[in-house]
């Protein structure tokens, strides 16, 4: 039986952690991204589990620090931040709300069900500015690990595409 105090603390800690935004894509919270995996409470101590998007994602250290600060702001001190690898993060965990926010921000959201694609397959990515499917890839690797650089042939705008993973 989980006590009401523990349950309330867990919810408060979740709310605080869930408000942390991705330092590279500040319109998305780590909850939208699916980076925030779990919050548990043992003997009054909070443990937050996060998972990296990419193995070498340099934002992870900053995200962990931001979670600690967000918890402290809400009076929750001494929390531990644990990084878990399994199950591996996938863009399928990104919330619909997250996808909408990304598009509004000018980043094409990852295709749903984007597990492993055919290696030399063709992707159709809609331009986040004008909605056209007449787009082409400029570079498989963009300004951060999780993005690729595309261009719209209709409105001529370049845009970031959040890669399927």
């Amino acid at each position: 039986m989980v006590s009401a105090a523990t349950s309330n603390l867990r919810q408060a800690a979740w709310n605080a952690a869930a408000s942390v935004v991705d330092p590279e894509i500040p319109v998305l919270t780590i909850a939208d991204l699916g980076v925030l995996r779990d919050v548990t409470v043992h003997d009054g101590r909070v443990e937050v589990a996060i998972t990296p998007t990419y193995s070498g994602c340099p934002a992870m250290n900053m995200i962990a620090l931001e979670i600690e600060l967000a918890l402290a702001r809400d009076g929750i001190n001494g929390a531990t931040i644990k990084t878990i690898l399994s199950p591996a993060w996938t863009t399928d965990w990104m919330s619909d709300e997250g996808r909408r926010k990304l598009r509004d921000y000018g980043v094409a959201p990852p295709q749903a069900g984007g597990s492993r694609r055919a290696l030399f397959g063709v992707e159709v990515v809609a331009c986040p500015q004008c909605g056209s499917n007449e787009t082409q890839v400029l570079s498989e690797f963009g300004s951060t690990s999780c993005k690729a650089l595309w261009r719209c042939n209709a409105c001529r705008e370049p845009f970031d595409y959040f890669k399927c993973h």
Binding site: Y54, G56, L85, L149
Partner: protein, 258 residues
């Protein structure tokens, strides 16, 4: 006075994790050498991104090696405080960048193996290795696609790009035999399902490489004598120079932090 190197208790599992970690770190470091020097901005970012993925994979593998060893070593001491003969990476990964074609061919030959390897390792009976594999295979799929597309573009490009791509594949070919290395230390791990038998991956790698080289109008070198030694610490002269740069800060200022 330089910091002395650590000693490592290379149990089969520790050695297994270190060998893969060293592959990823050394190749990742090589790619980082391109930062600011690549032929185009997009490629500068691509090579840096791939290097970042590899160094991330190395960190996870080093952290696991440290846990498996259970001594005072950690991911930093493995990376910064082992000398050349203690490194266990493939000779392929330490080969100098050369020109862009050499770097791309090196990446392709490695990624064609790594992608199949990580996918197979997702079924490892070791939960941590399986978890690292599940992350890494998504990344290696992108690395393989990127490098394969470049191999085709260079090989089937201009006379000059074809000549350079051909020179690269001819030069690197003798280092590909080591991809399939397994020794007595690995045997028990393979029997227990912790490690994959690399021989199982040979046919898939051969097909992938043959197809891409053919599309690139490049001739696959005849399989002859293969160079090996990296897995047991016998390296080319290039690795020492790489480590002198990678380790200089920690060797000069032990324990320095940002």
């Amino acid at each position: 006075m330089a910091t002395p190197s650590i000693t490592v208790s290379e149990t089969p599992l520790v050695l297994y994790a270190l060998r893969r970690a060293d592959d990823a770190l050394i190749l990742g470091h090589r790619l980082s050498e391109w930062c600011g020097h690549a032929p185009a901005m997009e490629e500068d970012m691509a090579l840096a991104n791939i290097g970042l993925d590899l160094i991330g994979q190395a960190r996870e593998l080093y952290a696991y090696a440290a846990t498996a060893e259970g001594k005072a070593n950690d991911e930093d001491t493995f990376a910064y405080l082992r000398d050349v003969r203690q490194y266990r990476n493939l000779l392929l990964c330490e080969q100098p960048n050369g020109d862009f074609a050499r770097t791309i061919l090196r990446q392709f030959l490695y990624s064609a193996f790594a992608d199949a390897y990580w996918r197979a390792m997702m079924a490892s009976t070791d939960a941590t290795l399986a978890a690292i594999a599940a992350k890494s295979e998504k990344e290696s799929a992108y690395h393989l696609r990127h490098s394969a597309e470049w191999v085709i573009r260079l090989g089937d490009g201009t006379e000059e790009s074809h000549r350079r791509a051909k020179e690269a594949v001819d030069h690197l070919w003798a280092f590909t035999g080591e991809l399939f290395h397994a020794d007595d230390s690995d045997a028990a791990l393979i029997a227990d399902g912790i490690a994959v038998d690399p021989e199982r991956l040979r046919a898939g790698w051969t097909d992938m490489v043959a197809n891409v080289l053919a599309t690139a109008t490049l001739t696959q070198p005849k399989s002859g004598w293969m160079q090996k030694g990296g897995r047991s610490g016998l390296h080319s002269e290039h690795l020492g120079h790489l480590l002198s740069e990678l380790q200089s800060l920690q060797r000069t200022f032990p324990g320095a932090t940002w």
